[in-house]
């Protein structure tokens, strides 16, 4: 018995040593990348690319087209949230080349030296990205990113379940739909909403303001305003008319609207959050050339048009944005509902009311996390 325990321990130790050796090598990235690339089937000359994005966030025919055009095999994977993507990158084992995080996560990745500068000479389509989506605060000199989509956060509500149209974030804290309100299950967005309602910046690092936002949420929580905290379950809940008021992203509202036409979307008068998701190449990527080809392909006008049509998130490609209503009419033989188009691609005067998230310092992130857990106890 003792012997077997010793054997097990030996196995464990050698295994964990071997594992940690692997990960060290991988994180360093200094040891010849070709030696590692064997895992990506480079031995038979097949070019591969590992992409990680969000769920239902691409028109998949684009992947097939890219593969046919370039002969590169794309391993397309999905992560549910920026935080989970970060966790996967931290724990290692995920050998992605291209990731599509949101603004605040990009600045965190840049801060922690996890991205590599792009070679924009290999991405001619970068020119087509509208200037207002370049040099944004998360990547001020635009060295690391090519925007993929952008959009807004807003209130989604069921017009048959509230008395009058909602215009303010107050609807999430007062009794507009007490017991029928859904809180977004993401501390950054939930606190962001409370901060915006209180008139503070979503990027505040003032602990007193964050605690005030917490009190606002906790007070509504204790009064039973919220049915619960949800993320993607929101589709099922809102489409079925099971809750009256919720907070989510514009693109997802348009998907829900297809299944329940009583739903409305509003960016409250206090303003809201707007976000950019952008393509980046990880520092330890093994297929850098292929990654550049992919980014250039996805930044093209044709890819942006088809993607925008499929996922309902607005494109940062100037041409695609302008052409989309016309393209829609040609493709479907009916005019695009411009009201919906403006929800997808919010006009500049709406964006001016919105604030993008910046990365928060570690101590504030911990405070967010602690308060968020406190809200559930």
């Amino acid at each position: 018995m003792k012997k077997r325990t010793a054997l097990a321990l030996a196995c464990t130790l050698s295994a964990s040593l071997a594992l940690s050796a692997c990960s060290v090598e991988r994180v360093d990235g200094t040891s010849s990348p070709d030696a590692n690339a064997s895992s990506s089937a480079a031995s038979d000359g097949q070019r591969v690319l590992n992409v990680c994005s969000w769920g239902e966030y691409i028109d998949e025919t684009l992947i097939d087209e890219f593969e046919a055009q370039t002969g590169i095999q794309v391993n397309y994977q999905e992560a549910p949230s920026n935080e989970e993507l970060y966790s996967r990158l931290q724990t290692g084992g995920a050998n992605f080349d291209v990731v599509v995080p949101s603004d605040y996560m990009i600045s965190q990745l840049i801060e922690e030296d996890m991205l590599q500068p792009l070679d924009y000479s290999k991405i001619p389509n970068f020119e087509k990205i509208a200037d207002r989506f370049k040099n944004l605060p998360y990547d001020p000199e635009n060295l690391y990113t090519v925007p993929y989509t952008w959009g807004t956060l807003g209130i989604i509500y069921n017009t048959t379940m509230v008395d009058e149209p909602i215009t303010s974030w107050s609807a999430l804290f007062d009794d507009t739909a007490a017991g029928n309100t859904l809180l977004i299950d993401n501390s950054r967005d939930a606190f962001g909403i409370a901060l915006m309602y209180l008139g503070y910046s979503v990027n505040t690092t003032d602990e007193a303001q964050i605690r005030e936002a917490y009190e606002l949420l906790a007070n509504a929580w204790d009064r039973g305003v919220y049915q619960g905290k949800v993320m993607d379950e929101i589709f099922q809940i809102m489409e079925g008319g099971n809750a009256a008021v919720a907070t989510y992203y514009a693109g997802d509202y348009l998907s829900m609207l297809e299944n329940n036409e009583d739903l409305a979307y509003v960016i409250p008068e206090e303003g809201s959050n707007w976000f950019v998701d952008a393509m980046c190449i990880l520092k330890d990527a093994q297929n850098v050339d292929e990654a550049h080809e992919w980014i250039n392909f996805m930044a093209s006008t044709d890819a942006n048009l088809r993607n925008m049509d499929f996922i309902w998130y607005a494109s940062p490609n100037e041409e695609a944005l302008e052409m989309y209503p016309e393209w829609y009419e040609e493709t479907y033989g009916e005019p695009l509902d411009l009201e919906l188009y403006e929800i997808m691609a919010a006009p500049q005067e709406v964006l001016d009311r919105c604030e993008a998230y910046l990365v928060l310092p570690q101590d504030i992130r911990t405070l967010y996390n602690d308060l968020w857990i406190q809200l559930g106890t």
């Binding site: 097990a8 196995c11 935080e83 905290k229 949800v230 809940i237 968020w372 559930g376 106890t377």
Partner: protein, 284 residues
């Protein structure tokens, strides 16, 4: 010869070492270190703030386990008593839901329990709300079932009930019939036989059933997320939050997981001792 045979166990030992022992070692290492892998115990000192989450998890898991036992034991008993045809059908029926993915089944419960869900629609269709509103002058249009603690317990019972039934069933099935006959010969009536012979002898099955329901219930996060809607945070959610929340802190997450494991082990140990005592009493 003996040596050669033990070689056959090597794949299993290797597997366990790699995927059970190594992860536990890693959890322990993480739990006692800081982000820079400096040794520390600070991950444990703040654990007091989570007492209510620990208490709630163990309470809900305990309730679910008791309900599973109350439902599962009679079913197992009846199954074991019936003929082989009935047993086959019943076993398939119990296993059937497990062929569908766990998350899908839990998602389906959402659709059933929602305010406009299937169950509330059924109540509405049979006029239950009209009846209640007529009797009590209320204006009820639905029962609030989803995103409550009750829904979480329901989810646990539904998902883990087979793990209670099957071990008890197989133990009762293998009971030595001659013991029952002997008891009857000596004048025991059937209630007495059950109380003094069948039930004590089935305890090993009950114990493994309780373990197999209680342990996953304590640590679940999918059920509490989908059916509890985050309204009542449980240990699984708390641990997940440390890894996938905004503040990535695997060290605190590991520490919480470790404490949870220790409490579960202590619970199991106490229960097993209690079980052994019973068995000895039977032997005596």
């Amino acid at each position: 010869m003996k040596h050669k045979r033990s070689l056959l166990a090597l794949p299993y030992v290797g597997w366990m070492a790699l995927f059970v022992v190594a992860p536990i070692v890693m959890v322990v290492v993480y739990a006692f270190t800081t982000a820079g892998f400096e040794p520390t115990a600070s991950n444990f000192t703040g654990m007091g703030t989570y007492v209510s989450i620990f208490a709630r998890s163990f309470q809900l898991a305990l309730i679910a386990t008791v309900i599973c036992l109350l439902i599962g034991y009679p079913i197992s008993y009846v199954m074991a008593k019936e003929g082989p045809g009935f047993q086959r059908v019943a076993t398939v029926l119990i296993m059937l839901p497990m062929w569908v993915n766990f998350l899908l089944r839990t998602y389906s419960w959402m659709a059933i329990l929602e305010n406009n869900g299937l169950l509330n629609q059924l109540f509405d269709a049979i006029g239950l709300f009209d009846l209640i509103n007529g009797l009590f002058g209320t204006d009820l249009t639905y029962f609030r079932m989803i995103r409550t603690q009750g829904a979480v317990v329901l989810g646990m019972v539904y998902n883990y009930l087979p793990f209670m039934i099957l071990p008890i069933y197989s133990v009762i099935l293998k009971l030595d019939r001659s013991l029952l006959e002997a008891a009857q010969d000596l004048g025991a009536n059937s209630a007495y036989v059950f109380r003094r012979v069948i039930f004590p002898l089935s305890l090993p099955g009950v114990l493994s059933g309780v373990t197999m329901v209680f342990v996953p219930s304590v640590s679940t996060f999918a059920i509490s997320r989908l059916l509890g809607g985050g309204t009542h945070m449980m240990l699984g959610d708390l641990i997940e939050q440390q890894f996938l929340g905004g503040a990535y802190n695997p060290h605190l997450g590991s520490a919480i997981a470790l404490v949870m494991m220790l409490i579960v082990i202590v619970c199991m140990w106490v229960m097993n001792r209690f079980g052994q005592g019973e068995e000895q009493a039977v032997v005596l």
